[in-house]
């Protein structure tokens, strides 16, 4: 008779693998029963194993993704050329370029200057501080992606909270939620943004994001700020009181030094200008859509590495998150297999059959699916798998719905986005403190629901003004239908 301790140990070690296998097996059986062929069943099952590994075996997710790719190739569902085609090297290289550039900007003092500018502000109050971290987090995410943004804003929060001896948890949650909402504002805000922009058919430009997504983000951000100010009003009041007491003693919030920030600011402005004008440059130079967008961070990173050649190896080895990028590549390839085996086409057909072209039904449906999906699963997994479905539904508004749903949905749970996980990791490392899942969920649900409603209303109102897929194709000088399956055909058309 096994002891209670023994049973616990067994459940702890074998429980999660058994759950993963059972769920994957069940889904495999169901998909087979639904009439999917062998290759479709294998691709769905392995995709699900990888999704569950991100939930249940966070530390092993990359290892499981490697094995999953091997299994797909072994089962002849994925070939090596298809893997190379599907792993989205363009997105990966864009992210490498951004990470290197951000690493250099950090060393040059840009982020030090930004944080010092906040610390040095006269007449700071709790309310102002919260407004600053929400908007700073959001706008920095728009420029340098959500993870980079939250690392810097969290440092600012820790500095202020340590100095004032108040708990940082509420302010960290506020900043993370602002950052997540803000990450929907531009193509640079979130890896999801560049993935959607680059894989939409036809691809979306930086200006498209500013025109259709940014205004909804601003509305969502304002609502988020209002909710969080009310939710954490007691902590904000305490921060105001401590700030006042400190001001009366003539003490600041941290040491201030003269930072030579102008060079780094010029580099950032230059990069944003280049990225912002990518569409114009591509048309002028007769380049394929988004060529400049993807290449600009790489070229800037290259130039910076030539300038600071002694540190160039450090930028590549330490500032680039290779672990995350490799996981993304594997994930994109596995999700691409779903498209290659026409699983996504079948899902899109089911949507088409059930809802036709009725966007008033499809918008809330995709919004809810993407928000709830990304609340529990890495949002990039969800987008990688769902993007082909949205493309096949051929409605521009659904692309923005998917973006807003995944970014806003990341606020619902504490594992909803990479920014949440990074911020909580920093908190745990610094204070040995953690937050309970339910505590986050309570405020996350409210923020998720309100911003979700704003996204729904925003997309529904703007949808009639959005260009149709055909109009977008004409705009980029093509008259072919958007890519359907197998994936890549549509993209190839633009690239020729």
């Amino acid at each position: 008779m096994p002891s209670a301790e023994g049973r616990k140990g067994f459940l702890r070690h074998a429980g999660r693998p058994l759950i993963t296998l059972a769920v994957s097996g069940l889904v495999g059986f169901l998909t087979h029963a639904l009439g999917l062929d062998r290759q479709q069943v294998i691709s769905v099952t392995i995709f699900l194993v990888i999704i569950m590994s991100t939930l249940l075996f966070w530390q092993f997710r990359l290892a499981i993704a490697f094995v999953g790719i091997g299994a797909l190739m072994g089962a002849n569902v994925l070939t090596l050329p298809t893997f190379i085609e599907e792993c989205q090297l363009d997105v990966i290289l864009f992210l490498v370029g951004m990470m290197v550039t951000v690493g250099v900007l950090k060393e040059l003092g840009l982020f030090t200057w930004i944080i010092q500018s906040v610390i040095a502000l006269k007449g700071m109050t709790g309310t102002r501080f919260v407004a600053i971290i929400v908007f700073l987090g959001a706008f920095m995410a728009c420029i340098v992606d959500e993870v980079t943004s939250i690392v810097f804003v969290a440092t600012l929060i820790f500095q202020v909270c340590d100095t004032l001896k108040i708990r940082p948890m509420p302010f960290l949650i506020i900043a993370v939620m602002g950052t997540n909402v803000g990450s929907a504002g531009t193509m640079l805000g979130n890896p999801v943004g560049i993935l959607i922009g680059q894989n939409a058919a036809p691809p979306l430009s930086f200006l498209d994001f500013l025109r259709w997504s940014f205004p909804i983000m601003i509305l969502g951000l304002t609502a988020t700020l209002g909710i969080l100010m009310w939710w954490f009003r007691a902590d904000i009041r305490l921060l105001s009181e401590r700030l006042q007491a400190r001001r009366e003693l003539g003490l600041g919030l941290g040491p201030l030094i003269q930072v030579p920030y102008k060079r780094s600011l010029a580099i950032l402005v230059g990069m944003i200008a280049l990225i912002g004008s990518h569409h114009f440059l591509e048309k002028t130079l007769n380049l394929a859509p988004n060529t400049v967008l993807i290449v600009a961070p790489l070229v800037i990173a290259g130039l910076l590495m030539i300038w600071r050649h002694k540190r160039s190896r450090h930028y590549i080895e330490a500032d680039v998150e290779w672990w995350t990028l490799l996981f993304f590549m594997m994930l994109f390839a596995v999700a691409g297999t779903l498209e290659h085996t026409r699983v996504t086409a079948r899902i899109a057909d089911s949507f088409q059959a059930a809802f036709g072209g009725r966007s008033f039904l499809l918008i809330p449906l995709i919004l809810v699916l993407s928000a709830v999906g990304s609340a529990f699963v890495d949002n990039i997994v969800f987008v990688a798998a769902f993007m082909p479905v949205v493309n096949k539904l051929e409605q521009t508004s659904l692309v923005w719905t998917l973006l807003l749903g995944t970014c806003f949905g990341g606020n619902i749970t504490m594992i909803g986005s990479t920014a949440n996980i990074v911020a909580l990791g920093m908190l745990e490392k610094r204070y040995r403190a953690s937050i309970r899942f339910l505590d986050w969920l309570k405020v996350g649900l409210v923020v998720g629901l309100v911003t979700g409603l704003i996204a729904w209303a925003g997309v529904a109102i703007l949808a009639p003004y959005m260009p149709t897929v055909e109009q977008r194709l004409q705009k980029v000088g093509m008259h072919s239908p958007p890519p359907t399956t197998p994936k890549g055909e549509g993209i190839e058309i633009y690239r020729h």
Partner: protein, 309 residues
């Protein structure tokens, strides 16, 4: 937590035949050698010369005068399996430490512990804690004329070896501490004057309320957002430190005091000290009774007492 479980009497570790009573010898080393020879004859401790060299090496390094007039020399030996104790008394006293010629030792308790028994010596010394605190003990024991009476003194004293070492057994007394109303200026003064890198902060009742460290002070001057920068030109002249200098006299300790430190209750097993030091990734644990600060168990002291004494 109760300490005494095994109820081993200190007096059971030796017999009257292992007591040198009222020796006329004035030389510390000769008394130690006589005592070791007697123990070798009575109990078997292996090579006497090796034991002698081991005891001398330790005493020459740091004389073990545990209380005025009382010394507890000791060594760890491969040849023995249990604690072995020998006692010597002197009416006139022995010059034990040339640097303290006036502090003559009248009672010597020699403890030999097995090599692989961490803390055995400390257990023995811990059992004698009560008599060590009484300054009359060496004179009283030295006045007893027979070995039987000396042994009887220890037997009747009810001294019992603790079941295990307590945190209080491996701590040092707090030499320097800060009060809650002190300023940063005083903390920096004490850091510099005593060459310490951490100071406990207590309130008016002596309760431990926090810790101030030089590392925290450095982190206040150089927070993360300054350390990100590769170019140190803006701080080459220690600009962030100048800010601290300007404000140190009106900055309360609470500004840099941390409440994240390792504490251990005095009566908890000493191994708890090692656990807390490891868990908190620090190099010292504060020994408290309730909230009252009793002492500091540093990693150096802990290792020295457990692995070397």
């Amino acid at each position: 937590m109760t300490v005494e479980k095994n109820h081993i009497q200190f007096s059971s570790l030796f017999s009257p035949s292992e007591v040198i009573c009222q020796t006329q010898e004035k030389d510390r080393d000769k008394v130690l050698l006589d005592l070791l020879k007697r123990l070798a004859y009575q109990r078997g401790i292996g090579n006497v010369d090796e034991a002698y060299q081991a005891v001398l090496a330790r005493e020459n390094d740091m004389p073990t005068i545990v209380a005025p007039g009382m010394a507890m020399p000791h060594a760890r030996l491969d040849a023995i399996k249990d604690l072995v104790v020998g006692v010597a008394t002197s009416r006139e006293g022995i010059v034990y430490d040339p640097r303290q010629p006036d502090n003559r030792v009248k009672l010597m308790v020699l403890t030999l512990a097995p090599k692989a028994a961490p803390g055995a010596y400390l257990q023995a010394i811990s059992s004698l804690a009560r008599i060590c605190q009484d300054p009359a003990t060496p004179d009283i024991v030295a006045s007893l004329p027979t070995p039987e009476q000396v042994w009887s003194f220890f037997d009747k004293g009810g001294m019992v070896l603790p079941d295990h070492l307590r945190a209080a057994d491996v701590m040092d007394p707090v030499q320097v501490q800060l009060q809650e109303h002190d300023t940063l200026e005083r903390a920096i003064d004490l850091f510099v004057r005593h060459r310490l890198n951490e100071l406990p902060v207590v309130d008016k009742d002596g309760d431990l309320i926090g810790v101030v460290s030089t590392y925290e002070l450095l982190r206040v001057c150089l927070p993360d957002y300054i350390l990100w920068m590769d170019d140190l030109t803006p701080i080459l002249n220690f600009e962030p430190f100048a800010e601290i200098l300007r404000k140190e006299s009106k900055t309360w300790l609470t500004e840099i005091m941390t409440t994240d430190y390792a504490t251990v209750e005095a009566d908890e097993p000493a191994v708890q000290v090692a656990k807390e030091i490891t868990r908190q990734r620090t190099n010292r644990a504060y020994v408290v009774r309730g909230k009252k600060l009793l002492g500091v168990a540093s990693l150096e002291t802990f290792l020295s007492k457990i692995l070397r004494e």
